[in-house]
């Protein structure tokens, strides 16, 4: 097994990311994005692209930094700590991984940050790729796509969209799905912004006889899930890493508050009831950190065998983030409930992250199946 410790390059990357984000994208920056309703800050994204983050998974010959999935996880985690809103996971992780596996020539746009991808899979409330009903009716080399997509991250700001549609079979079947790579301005595709609790960019998409050709297909016709497999795994690992950061961010605020707030004439951190819960939370975060690091390592070294490691990380990170934000609000008392204070932002992000690309039960079922039950 690979070491889960950070190597020298990874340590440097983490320190650089932390330094940059603390200075340029603290939680106050997210608050501004939330208040202005822009979804994310384009200027910040351009700076991140310049540092090579948008191209973290793009080969060097296409302008990327090609640092690998563990590195992508490190970046996602640091962004989670200060709640950075950006297209990093949709574009730099999922689209880059998916299109790289398909030897697409669109990677350079991702790496320089000019191309922002959204991934449109789900049509219902829960993550379920096989449940896709949206039709792509084929005639010769042409397709017509019709149907609706729910809650597409980066749906408003994206200029391209990877969309999963059904070329055969019925909703609920894993076969018969095809992945298309389309311009987001293509005729017949409309998008409606969603006011989401985590204040980021989401849209509903409606496809009304949108034209596509064989050139737009990623992978094979009917092989959409296979074409997405690596990209989805990478995305799930990155969401897990981000949730690791969300947990750490919420925990950091809480641990500090225990050292600042006085009641009954003493710091509340002297109450053993709170000490033990803070200690428990830290212990949970440590265990989850291993699962997150392991997922990144597995994606880098055994990409075709990484699914269980990824699900382990996503399940653990979902559960730990939920605990961290619940304890965060509770241990702050009244002030934790106020919008003026940042803890609520962590709670709302953790909720969306819990659902994004599979909830605890979805991933636990994958782990259980792999363990033989």
């Amino acid at each position: 097994m690979e070491s889960l410790l950070l190597n020298e390059d990874e340590t440097m990357l983490r320190d650089a990311a932390r330094g940059f984000l603390d200075a340029s994208a603290p939680v106050t920056a997210f608050r501004k994005v939330r208040d202005e309703g822009t979804g994310f800050d384009r200027g910040l994204w351009a700076e991140m692209a310049q540092m090579g983050w948008a191209g973290v998974l793009v080969p060097e010959n296409q302008g990327g930094a090609d640092m690998g999935h563990r590195a992508a996880g490190i970046l996602a985690e640091e962004m989670g700590k200060t709640l950075v809103a950006s297209p990093f996971i949709s574009s730099a992780v999922i689209a880059a991984t998916t299109l790289r596996a398909a030897a697409s020539d669109r990677l350079s746009g991702i790496a320089d940050g000019s191309t922002i991808y959204a991934l449109a899979i789900d049509e219902g409330a829960k993550f379920n790729p096989a449940g896709v009903a949206m039709e792509a009716i084929q005639s010769g080399n042409a397709f017509k796509l019709s149907g609706k997509k729910a809650f597409v991250a980066e749906g408003r700001n994206a200029n391209r969209v990877l969309v999963l549609a059904r070329t055969a079979g019925a909703a609920g079947e894993a076969e018969g799905l095809t992945l298309f790579d389309l311009d987001a301005d293509r005729a017949g595709l409309t998008r409606d912004a969603i006011a989401a609790i985590d204040g980021r960019d989401y849209a509903r998409m409606n496809f009304d006889n949108v034209d596509a050709t064989g050139d737009d297909v990623v992978g094979e016709v009917g092989g959409g899930l296979a074409a997405l497999q690596q990209g989805l795994n990478a995305g799930q690992a990155a969401v897990a890493a981000e949730l690791g950061g969300v947990s750490a961010g919420a925990f950091g605020m809480t641990a500090q508050y225990l050292k600042d707030r006085k009641q009954f004439g003493v710091l509340i951190g002297t109450f053993q009831a709170l000490q033990h819960r803070a200690a428990h939370l830290w212990a949970e975060i440590e265990v989850t950190a291993s699962a997150i690091a392991n997922a990144g390592r597995m994606l880098d070294t055994h990409p075709n065998d990484a699914a269980v490691a990824v699900s382990l990380a996503k399940a653990r990170a979902t559960k730990t983030a939920k605990l961290a934000v619940s304890e965060g609000v509770q241990m702050h008392g009244g002030i934790g409930m106020t919008d003026e204070f940042d803890m609520g932002f962590f709670m709302k992000r953790a909720r969306v992250g819990a659902e994004w690309f599979g909830d605890y039960g979805y991933h636990a079922a994958i782990v259980a199946a792999a363990r033989g039950f």
Binding site: A125, A195, A196, Q330, G334, D339, E355
Partner: protein, 401 residues
């Protein structure tokens, strides 16, 4: 006022007949009568805007029958119902899907405190007004430095002969900007040990020098405020013989604690019934993906088991109170169980409704906002940690320093 029989079977018939005419059709057919959905509550008071003429009619009809405060004595605006008859009333309300005609901090908190500690003049002055929904009260307990350590309140009341002069700040005052009056804990003796220098005072919110500033919650709503007192003059008497202080001067802590037992039981009861009109069971069985998710299913099963048992417990303690055994410190257990359960219920609903409910305004209504609001249940009225502390020290009498 219609004469309602005290014989249970006849009372049920009487109530049913009365409901048929007194409760407007529009106010029937609701999902939950006992829930804590704040937006749909008839709060009463001078500044309250009724959501419909029917809401107002229902409140007034009920008030004229004493049914806004059914267990209070008739002379103070109630119907003098026993616990057994009150249960029948709630059952009949549920049967027609009507919400309670009036709910308020006056009914939940101040009323019981006045009934226990008030003078006859105070009861006569304030209770009927609460029962008729003509006054809305808010609770001025917490301060920036006095949350869990409530006895640390610093808001000062100086004795100026014929009046008190109040200076200080309250925080997290729910609906202070909507309230007509506030019941507040103020320090009337700064030299006494901290529990012994507090008085429980009734203050008109329109007094000069009282200001409120709404605070926005993580749910996007602003139900609570900072409340400032800047040289506020409170007359020693709100009318002949009507003392502004409830209970003895400097013994307000006793009143405050008594009130909290009622508040805690009430907050704990917020876990009953469908979650804002939604049922976990219904949602989970509506979708085979959900029903097939082993983790969600197991959590839903555990939630149903616990909520049924907690409901029984709430009833058991209410029955006890009904036969004259005060709930006392067990209210901490009811609050702890009820609020932790309510939070779990809403977490579960959020998981079941996934990305649908990650929108502020969704196909599930304002579920996200309600979910976030439940996080305060285990903070307001005393935190879960404080509840466990009370159980450990007062109920179990475990040793402490």
């Amino acid at each position: 006022m219609l004469e309602l029989s005290r014989d249970p079977a006849q009372f049920r018939k009487d109530i049913r007949a009365w409901l048929a005419s007194a409760c407007p059709a529009e106010m029937k057919g609701r999902e939950s009568h006992d829930g804590f959905a704040e937006s749909d509550i008839c709060w009463g008071g001078k500044r309250f805007e009724f959501s419909s003429p029917a809401q107002k009619e229902w409140m007034q009809n009920a008030a004229s029958q004493g049914m806004t405060v059914p267990t209070w004595p008739v002379e103070y605006g109630g119907a003098g119902l026993s616990r057994d008859l009150q249960k029948i009333w709630l059952e009949e309300l549920a049967a027609v899907g009507a919400k309670l005609p009036l709910q308020s901090f006056g009914i939940w908190m101040l009323g019981p405190a006045l009934l226990a500690f008030g003078t006859e003049e105070q009861k006569k002055r304030f209770l009927p007004e609460i029962a008729r929904g003509e006054i809305r009260w808010c609770q001025g307990y917490s301060e920036p430095g006095a949350g869990s350590d409530l006895a640390n309140v610093q808001t000062r009341a100086e004795d100026m002969g014929d009046h008190w002069l109040i200076n200080g700040q309250k925080i997290w005052t729910s609906y202070a900007d909507q309230a007509d009056w506030i019941f507040a804990l103020v320090r009337t003796d700064r030299d006494a040990p901290k529990h012994k220098g507090i008085s429980f005072m009734l203050i008109d919110m329109t007094s000069a020098g009282v200001t409120t500033k709404p605070i926005r919650l993580i749910s996007g709503k602003s139900p609570f405020c900072e409340t400032f007192f800047d040289n506020v003059k409170v007359p020693k008497e709100h009318g002949p013989g009507i003392n502004a202080v409830v209970g003895e001067q400097n013994r307000g802590w006793d009143v405050a604690k008594h009130l909290l037992t009622h508040e805690r039981e009430m907050i704990g009861s917020g876990s009953r019934g469908p979650l804002g009109g939604r049922s976990v069971g219904q949602i989970i069985s509506s979708d085979s993906d959900l029903n097939g998710n082993p983790v969600l299913r197991a959590e839903a099963m555990k939630y149903e088991i616990d909520s049924m048992a907690v409901d029984l417990t709430l009833d058991r303690y209410k029955d006890m109170a009904g036969v004259g055994v005060p709930i006392g410190n067990a209210s901490s257990m009811l609050k702890y169980q009820g609020t932790e359960l309510n939070k779990r219920g809403y977490e579960l609903l959020m998981s079941l409704t996934g990305m649908d409910a990650a929108e502020w305004d969704s196909t599930h209504g304002e579920l996200a906002s309600e979910w976030l609001r439940t996080k305060a249940n285990s903070i307001e009225g005393g935190t879960s940690e404080v509840m466990l502390d009370i159980i450990a020290k007062r109920v179990l009498e475990l040793p402490y320093k």
